[in-house]
């Protein structure tokens, strides 16, 4: 078959957004290396905004100059911590990660329920480690209540919610939230599980609170961590970033021990364990990843 060439000289407009300074990609890699938090390309602006705020405070004029402060200057560890604070702040809200909730309700719960059909005491234990002002444990509690007439019929659900900060724990106990924290909560959940405080605020109903025990806990306190056994699920979102390598590894090992066999450990949406613990299996659910402590029957321990 022969083809006669028909010249096509087609010029197209570039499909590109505002270029991002290459140093921010270096910073992104550094942040990933020390914290396991990955800022995807479309979220690099969040990183550059955070850097911008820090640069202003420090008087750094260019991203390159800021990079030097992050890496070469004395006290760079402290600066890295400030930056991590900047880029993780304000991320919390109720129903923050629907893929995690779907994984929990559609895959993990049926798996746990199926595994324990023969057990007399049917108890599910969830730990929200670093619960901040309570958005995560309340979200979990509402979702568990949704299952209480079907999958979890006859089950006792206990949610333990801990944070290092006393004030956060007190705020969490009150369970009062404004529009911003409720931006991802559907009307269905708002009507069913909240009462109105005033025109701008809603409060979590007592039946939701009943499922949760709030307390102050330092994840680095080894003696207390030893008492957190028997968990089916641990969530620890955007907390490990505040620890250095050795403490992080120790905390993760505690989490591994505290989980039941076949239990799951969730981090923040763009957070990973990297090589912190090789006993956990990285597993994928639609739209989210988690770490699995292999069950005794899986032969993968």
């Amino acid at each position: 078959m022969t083809i006669a060439a028909r010249p096509a000289v087609v010029a197209l407009a570039p499909i590109k957004n505002e270029p991002i300074h290459p140093v921010y990609r270096q910073i992104r890699d550094l942040v990933y290396k020390v914290s396991g938090i990955y800022k995807a390309e479309e979220k690099l602006y969040l990183l550059s905004d955070g850097c911008g705020r820090r640069m202003k405070q420090l008087g750094a004029r260019t991203p390159r100059e800021y990079w030097d402060q992050l890496t070469a200057q004395p006290g760079h560890d402290g600066e890295l911590r400030h930056l991590l604070n900047e880029i993780t702040i304000g991320e919390t809200c109720l129903f923050r990660s629907q893929p995690q909730l779907d994984a929990l309700r559609k895959v993990i719960l049926p798996e746990i329920v199926a595994e324990r059909t023969k057990q007399i005491t049917k108890r599910l234990r969830i730990w929200s480690a670093g619960c901040s002002t309570g958005e995560e444990p309340y979200t979990l509690a509402m979702n568990m209540l949704e299952e209480s007439d079907c999958l979890l019929k006859g089950w006792t659900v206990e949610i333990l919610a801990t944070d290092l900060n006393d004030r956060s724990v007190e705020t969490a106990k009150a369970g009062i939230y404004g529009d911003y924290a409720l931006r991802s909560t559907t009307d269905y959940f708002k009507h069913k599980y909240f009462t109105t405080v005033d025109e701008k605020k809603l409060q979590v109903r007592p039946e939701v609170k009943k499922l949760i025990t709030f307390s102050r806990l330092n994840l680095q306190d080894d003696s207390k961590m030893l008492f957190m056994r028997g968990m089916d699920l641990i969530l620890c979102c955007n907390v490990l970033i505040y620890f250095d390598g050795a403490s992080k590894s120790k905390v993760v090992n505690h989490f591994f021990t505290d989980l039941n066999f076949g239990g799951y450990f969730f981090l923040g949406t763009s957070e990973s364990l990297m090589k912190l613990n090789d006993q956990f299996h990285l597993v994928h659910f639609p739209g989210t990843i988690a770490y699995w402590k292999p069950s005794l029957s899986s032969g993968k321990l």
Binding site: M1, A5, A8, V10, I289
Partner: protein
Amino acid sequence: MTASMTATIRERVARIETMPAIPAVFVPLMKMLGSSTIEVNVDEVVRLVSYDNTIAAQCLKVANSPLFGLAQVPRSIKAAVISLGLRRVETILLTCCLGQAFPAEKWTLDPDVFWRHSLGCALVCRKFSEKLAGVDAEKAYMAGLLHDLGFMVNCLVFPKEFAAAMERACREEIPLHEAEETAMGFTHCETGQALAEKWKLADDIIEVIARHHAVEQSHKAQSLVAVVHLSDLLCRMRGLGYGYYERRRVDFSSDPAWLVLLQEHRDLEGVDLARFTFELDESVEEVHALVSSVFGPARPRTEATAAR
């Protein structure tokens, strides 16, 4: 699957004379893809790309996408061919041709969803292969792009049966190939294989199409089949699947394909799968954008002319 069922599939696929809207460059392109790169010259590729204005414009759009990583926007086909390299252009051309090959009214699947998955898988295959020594990344791209060819065949030849399988998969939130097996007694792997053989595609590509859901049964090109299997799975876990929730947990490091790959590629141990997953997420928006610009509804021929 019984021998008589295989015969039925082959017979019905044989009756597809050609994909109705297949672009004229498709056949010579397939021939070119089968030959070694040395035999292909730049002018020949430029000639193929330039033959059809619509395809030429689409090729430039694809080349322009951040997914193909060109620092500068190519101003002409020749410039694009030179900057991208021959093999990359061949795969881009194949992407565009396939996009045009299928009649709009015959889709049982949402075509956008199909192309997002195929293109996403192709890109992940390429990226994944780049991490493994000795796997041809452009070949992997092509294999990823074509691995689900059988779904197109199903839409053309078994539309009712396939619609039932699709409905079942969505309702039960199970993998589509499992629903096909239950509802039809065979899967897109067999129908895709029949078309790939009819088109005389390369043996390793046929193997990928036929075995990407059963890597352990693959005897040829097992690494390539494993790469496609894992990339397919990863796409389905990260929003580039078939548009419905698959109720499942995937443990990649225990997947037979991972173990097969690990035997030949020790460098796989060094792959940070979590980061690889996050990196894929970066490409999802681009894949959506590219699919709507390249595989969207057929545009009038004048568009490319107008863009000159």
